[in-house]
Symmetry: D2
């Protein structure tokens, strides 16, 4: 199987296991001449890095990125950009004990059934650590989008049963999301989320939530019906993240209970531009961007790693057994999923900006 490449013109390929030597990504298709430094990428990696708060795994990784190719004199060359992060704080001991006992809710069993031979240490390739490459690549995508006026925002809208209201102003996201460990746009709700997360965690349990990502100032005309629709590729991108069990665009599952007259966004004129009065469509109709903000949400399941005892099967002895996990986990993954979801949305949009001819694929101007 060769499923580690994403995108058509803005194309990324990631590699790396959680406890291997390193982890990284090649980004191919970035136009030449885009100013880019390691600091641009490091900034985003620092946002997803573990060990940032009591809400994240205590694994200590500096996640220092090295750019190995594709840059010359501070600018992209139009050639592949290889970025590498070393794995440093690797503790494989807790995994020895469970190497024949697949953890419920994890990919352990599925990898074993598929590949026979697996790297059980820290989840191997199925670890959340795999997202380092996504975030590093996303940083370049974001930079390219920003140069065309497009902004990507992400925030936690629900965690451990505590939710913000549905229509959060972008201004509040920009202002608050990096100021609290939940990456919630409302500081008070963030506090309640945190309490709920810690309470479950104290009980050896974990919680899930909903993360929303938005793209502002996206031009109309992105998306390629009937199969490579913009929403279809966003769904693909977001569902490819670990722990995501659902994706919705605009009103999403709420649309199910609406009437056509409520759901249809009336068209209006704002100056010479055709806009919609509401945005139930989430900025996409017929699989094509309309110029309205693109809004997507993902259902994040509770972190599968919990310290409560769980039933599983020893695959060498083929016997039912009980396990109690001892590794290092995030009690709630939403805050760390925010930059990853932003990265995935940015990657889809950068690709479509190239594919629809809005960005010159050879040279950045």
């Amino acid at each position: 199987m060769a499923g580690n490449t994403f995108g058509k013109l803005f194309k990324i390929t990631t590699w790396g296991e959680s406890h291997g030597l390193s982890i990284g990504v090649i980004v191919d298709g970035v136009p030449a001449g885009l100013p880019l430094s390691e600091a641009d990428v490091q900034h985003e990696l620092d946002r997803r890095r573990p060990g940032q708060s009591i809400l994240a795994t205590p694994r200590r990784e500096r996640d220092q990125v090295e750019i190995l190719s594709g840059i010359f004199q501070g600018k992209t060359l139009g050639t592949p950009i290889c970025m590498l992060v070393r794995n440093i704080d690797v503790d494989s001991k807790p995994y020895e004990e469970i190497k024949t006992k697949p953890r419920p809710g994890h990919a352990d069993l599925a990898y074993w059934l598929k590949f026979g031979h697996t790297d059980y240490r820290g989840g191997g390739r199925a670890s959340a650590r795999e997202t380092v490459g996504r975030v590093a690549a996303g940083a370049i995508a974001k930079k390219l989008l920003a140069a065309h006026g497009i902004e990507i925002l992400g925030h936690t809208v629900e965690a451990a049963g505590v939710a913000v209201g549905r229509d959060v102003k972008s201004e509040k996201i920009r202002k608050n999301v990096e100021r609290n460990p939940m990456r919630c746009a409302d500081p008070k709700v963030a506090d309640r989320m945190k309490q709920a997360v810690l309470q479950a965690s104290a009980d050896g349990n974990s919680t899930g939530g909903i993360v929303e990502v938005r793209a502002l100032n996206v031009p109309s005309g992105l998306g390629e019906p009937v199969f490579d629709k913009l929403d279809a590729e966003i769904a693909h991108a977001l569902m490819s993240m670990g722990s995501v069990k659902g994706v919705e665009i605009g009103s999403g599952f709420k649309a199910v209970k609406m009437l056509g007259s409520e759901m249809n966004d009336p068209l209006t004129l704002r100056g010479r531009r055709i806009m919609s009065a509401t945005n139930n469509a989430g900025g996409i109709l017929g699989g094509i961007s309309t110029g309205m903000p693109i809004v997507a949400r993902i259902a994040v399941k509770p972190t599968p790693s919990i310290t409560k005892p769980q039933r599983t099967v020893d695959i060498t002895r083929m016997k039912e057994v009980e396990i109690k996990l001892k590794g290092r986990f995030d009690p709630n993954i939403c805050p760390r999923i925010v930059p990853v979801a932003e990265a995935m949305l940015a990657l889809v949009l950068a690709d479509h900006m190239l594919r629809s001819g809005k960005v010159n694929p050879n040279r950045f101007k």
Copy 2:
């Protein structure tokens, strides 16, 4: 843009506008030697055909399929199978009036912004009629899957605010879904759905719902992390259908409020086979099938065509106007979306059966 191809080894390419001469699909990658007749395909096309009940558009299309290539002596050749359906009952008159007035909730504006030149008659390429090709191709995928013991089931689980319970037995789907116009597994709920749909329709309005698709007896090991995960490609496939605003796998958005200890499916032995006691994962972990049933649900928005007056913009005069639609619509699209969603799931699985080496790509045995 060239977005009309789906799949990697089992690959389909569709074409056709709602009011053009014909509509169809090429299916490339079907192994040689699979018995296949027009009747196999016609059966599925008849399920999605319009005009089947008062719940569907009265457009009268026989949707008779012609297979133009790829079959010899009743068996596939391993070469592309081209299937064509003529458009017969074409009434473009109602669309003349609104050709410069994009219908809210439809793709009209998005196509116009992207392409400049569009076929406004019946929605053109963005019409639900486009799904003829998907269903015809899906019929072949289903046949290939059935030969390997895999069964695809679909049903309406919610419509116009009326829902069945969450865990419908597959037996009830097989038995009831073709016996009521809602394609609901519970005949009594189907009646209530129908009443609710007709009530909104009588008021010139439309309704949405939720459709579920399942795949039974899927082998473990399908799916290609980290980007071409099985769930990511299912999400892509289902979100590429018109009117779909959300996709979820297994517990989906319900997982958001669960604890890890509730969500994680405990592993057990059934004979020599490792199964999970519950199926919150929906048959997929780490992007790979586990051998448990695959379960996906989609959020279907209310049909955007309604007869109530709506606000829009005349794009030639650049002036806000009101429109009242007169065409032929489905008041609720869920029943007709069932076979399309089944087709999309079947296409993804047939492709992955080939990609994972479970089916010989050259010859059917």
Copy 3:
């Protein structure tokens, strides 16, 4: 296997067997707004049609194209264009006799080994008739290229051992190539080619040759190193044609005996434009177009169908046997390969014009 699609943004998918109902192509990725009629396509199909002279198979096909989708009011819609040609003059009788006796030099045995079940009538999918779809699609590519000033020329430079000189002026190709049955730019050489072809044919034998294609006025910057180089994709395209056993660019195999000082094209200024004084590179360096004419040549093997007796194996009886073919053949395929080679070059260039952002993928301007 699913190998019937070519191109990334300008993407074609062909289908059809020689003696099936019809043959055709879908062209996906043509920008909206390009004026296009059936006559545009028919013109090219008429050039490759059988039965044009005593040098071609007497099979009588009108090869009338029907455009089934993607066009509205005389212009492309940006949606897939499906084009279909019916097979009419089908005579499968001669093939009954040899259906278990693969013809040497043909694909019969290879298809049987791969697929088990094959359509032996007229070569099935491996027939030269398959190129109908390529030529129809190429007609659209040519039209798009012409609108950007790019011209495609093809001609026979060698046949049955008779060759024109290496550096034929483009003016002579334009003037003479449709005036003689060999499609040779030099009428006198054409006569000698014809005599040589007929002489071998009278003896029940066949001959090969070399066809050259050129693209004039191609902008610099097309091609995507290091694997999707322009020359690599041209080689792929041309080698995918039946009967082609070699491809060369610029000086090609002649370069093998040259010194670096002879091969390197010196750079000079013509006005403000950098050109090369010679064109040994054939318009491509490092896999990227330089702005000089693109020149490629293909080695066409002698038509495998000959009436001389040949040794083969009866695959059901597994016994060596002798066969004598009776079908309808081209004694030399070069003249009919000219429009196909032109089409393939046009398809690669149209795709790269889109991929390099020189053509807007959404709208033709």
Copy 4:
């Protein structure tokens, strides 16, 4: 542009500039469980390494490979294998002088026209150094093929006008090719080649040649008509290498002058296996492998780097100038192209072994 990925199921992505920090490749799609060590890869890298003889550039690179991912306990994991080689002996000084003066026969001008911003040091991405990634990936492909009994052989058949006979026995290639600096199967011809190469080199000039690659024991049935034919993909692969101006399969350009009765390979029985008495087809008919040896040859142009004075244009001053190169060059690249051509053939075949279901894509058995 994103052209740095090759293959569909056995997929490689390369990166790196000649004078950048490092160069490397990701190989995605290798089945799990294949024994693999750095030594396996190093062996092939050592064959292409510079500085091996007076016939190669004196640049001193150890080309030590590090495998960063995809291996665990000495076996592949089924996950991407990232391999990296540091650039050590980088001397960029000679390139400063010519950075605005594109070298004739090199990619300098083409890159500048395409990208605007280029890395002029050592040819940047267009350097032959880019093939490190190809050869490293090819080593894995060869290992997978060898496990299925397939052998890849390469040798120089012509250099500087000196050629071996056309039908070299495989035994002679195996025995002699690593014993002389020309990688020629005939030691006496190798000596004459070497003299001719050195003679031109002494005069500040360079020479070209022909390299042949073969694959023995390839199963029938590989290749996907009509566009992804095996020969078409081999042509793509080989033409994507720097300095290659032509590709031929089997009799290649020699077929042009043959009669059908000479070219067609008669079919015979060897035991229960159908073989051909001759192999003009080069093991491929109709784009599908027949089971006979696959034979391809490439035309290698004379190395573009020569020390004779050459005419070019200063692109900042837009003035014609003369340059005299001072870097480190291979006077004839054929010997070092042999392992690269072998690698490319191995990559195509490994991909097709997976695509045709001959190798399980999940697990090596």
